[in-house]
Symmetry: C2
Subunit: 338 residues, 2 copies
């Protein structure tokens, strides 16, 4: 099948670019020094490529992601890097421990107790390193680890996500602030112990020397937001659309805000000869745009670049893997949901 | 099951509020004068309630929505109010014509030819009434209708969506501009003929006297954006979440931007005792917020009100129907995709 025959909107992954990104990251963080985050693609077929690249441990954001990875035989070492209280989902994770190594993040007595009650065997203490989200204070981390150990659980170490530092204009400032955040994480680690110190993301992957593993995910597919940062990764994933209505003033393609995420703003839209466009607005099933030169014709294809890849992936059932214009595989986006 | 025992994030529809909204709209536009838009909820169970309310004709935005409605026995009169060129999907719609009445919007010779080639029997001419999106110029509508008739297709009339006028601050200005838009639509109708003149949406439902049917959809569930407009419909749908991390400064619940649409901005977050909060930001699986009074505790439930309901529905597999705190039904969101 040719790329241009796919029904649209079509989520399309360029195999060459994906492989380039995977290799570029593996050169900096080979093997177990990278714990790829599957929330960024929600696709076990892509995770399998990351394992072929040498990474056997993965990061997940939801129980469904963990269980899907286990079902696909990718359960060597799965970290649920998020707090969960739901007893049913925690029990499902506990049941999967016979087939996989599963570690759950905890940041409070509540989350420790919930994990223990469900039969979870291993936890990581989630430490707040400056992002106002989950994670305990560094000085609380030892108490939480002690509580987990009293419940009989293995405490594998600490994690801390410096999400507020992923995108900063000044490189030196970013380096210093990531260092400060890691000071907090390592202070917590002194109180917690264990072999794992996990942190980072695509925006800071190059700044980590003092952790045992980096949790980057977006590097594999990238998006128009991360693409502006100058990292050596390229956009591997676009949503292809068809021009369904056109006139001399503007054109309309069938890629709307139900086919890509808008939290980071409008996507880019290009014609297939590489011409840029001005994007006017998106509605549920449409994007209205103006090509920079020439006019669009009904039936033309366009390539739409999402501004935020992670939530875009969750909107699609399948991704089409292409090499050039040849469709070489159909990947289920099989880790959606919670 | 009690509402507070649902696994979160949980898409929850309040049956009393939904019924109130359906009845309020049916009083203004009873029976065939309303053609509810299913893109707003993507749920055949909800569409079945709209039919019980007296509306037998529905509007759809995607072939999948049309085919799902047919499969659920709701195919009395389905309008695909969007342009489609994909031959395979058009053929699937044509095949469904033996079990349902299906009408497809066209706005160009290309779309007429594609519909005819697939065996579509009935079309509606989509007219641009000011929104820069699909629709032909009013003076082109007759030519497009003639082309469709030459192909042997029934031309049922015209449609035009004044989406740019849904939300205007001044009521008199809105009324005048909707009138101007309908002048354009009726001018096109003079050239096209046919019994149907279809237009409108939740933001202008009260301003239509000259059309045969109104296409509103959001009125059934509403959202925090439409809720500010003073219409007699209330928010029937929220995403319930659980506080998974909390401290004296802020709290974090498990409703992120993969569980609701962000194109209209941040959602509202309320505690279950009705207390408001300041929403700081959302990430993939989290919302960080500060309750106006008191502090949140880990395990507390929160009620999150999406700013845009249509794309929020597409992010969930199921909605839970509740009356008070009792969960009375589980509805599949079964019209997702294209």
């Amino acid at each position: 099948v040719n790329l241009l025959e796919l029904p649209t909107p079509a989520l399309v992954i360029d195999a060459d670019v994906l492989e380039y990104n995977l290799t570029a990251m593996a050169r900096v963080h080979p093997g177990s020094s990278l714990r790829p985050h599957v929330k960024a693609h929600k696709c076990t077929a892509l995770a399998a490529l990351q394992r072929e690249e040498g990474h056997h441990a993965f990061t997940c954001a939801t129980p469904r992601e963990v269980l899907g990875m286990v079902a696909s035989g990718l359960g060597d070492d799965l970290l649920l890097a998020n707090e969960v209280l739901d007893p049913a989902r925690l029990r499902a994770l506990a049941a999967a421990q016979d087939h996989a190594r599963i570690t759950v993040a905890v940041d409070s007595a509540h989350t420790v107790d919930a994990a223990a009650a469900a039969g979870i065997r291993a936890v990581l203490v989630d430490v707040n390193v400056g992002l106002p989200r989950c994670g305990c204070r560094p000085d609380e981390a030892g108490r939480i680890a002690d509580l987990a150990r009293r419940h009989g659980m293995e405490v594998r170490g600490v994690m801390g996500y410096e999400g507020h530092l992923m995108v900063l204009p000044d490189a030196e400032d970013q380096r210093n602030r990531v260092d400060d955040a890691m000071d907090r994480l390592l202070a917590a680690h002194e109180l917690v112990g264990g072999p794992v110190v996990s942190a980072g993301g695509t925006g800071t992957y190059h700044l980590h020397r003092r952790v045992t593993e980096v949790q980057a995910g977006s590097y594999a597919l990238m998006d128009s937001h991360y693409a502006t940062l100058g990292h050596p990764f390229e956009q591997a994933c676009h949503v292809y659309g068809t021009v369904i209505s056109a006139n001399p003033k503007f054109a309309v393609a069938d890629v709307g805000l139900k086919a890509l995420a808008m939290d980071h703003g409008n996507p880019t839209v290009e014609t297939l000869d590489g011409q840029g466009t001005d994007v006017w607005f998106l509605s549920d099933e449409h994007v209205t745009f103006v090509p920079h030169t020439g006019v669009a014709e009904v039936g033309d294809r366009v390539r739409v670049g999402p501004a935020h890849i992670d939530p875009t992936m969750t909107m699609h059932e399948v991704a089409w893997l292409v090499r050039g214009h040849d469709v070489i595989d159909r990947w289920a986006i099989d880790l959606r949901g919670w």
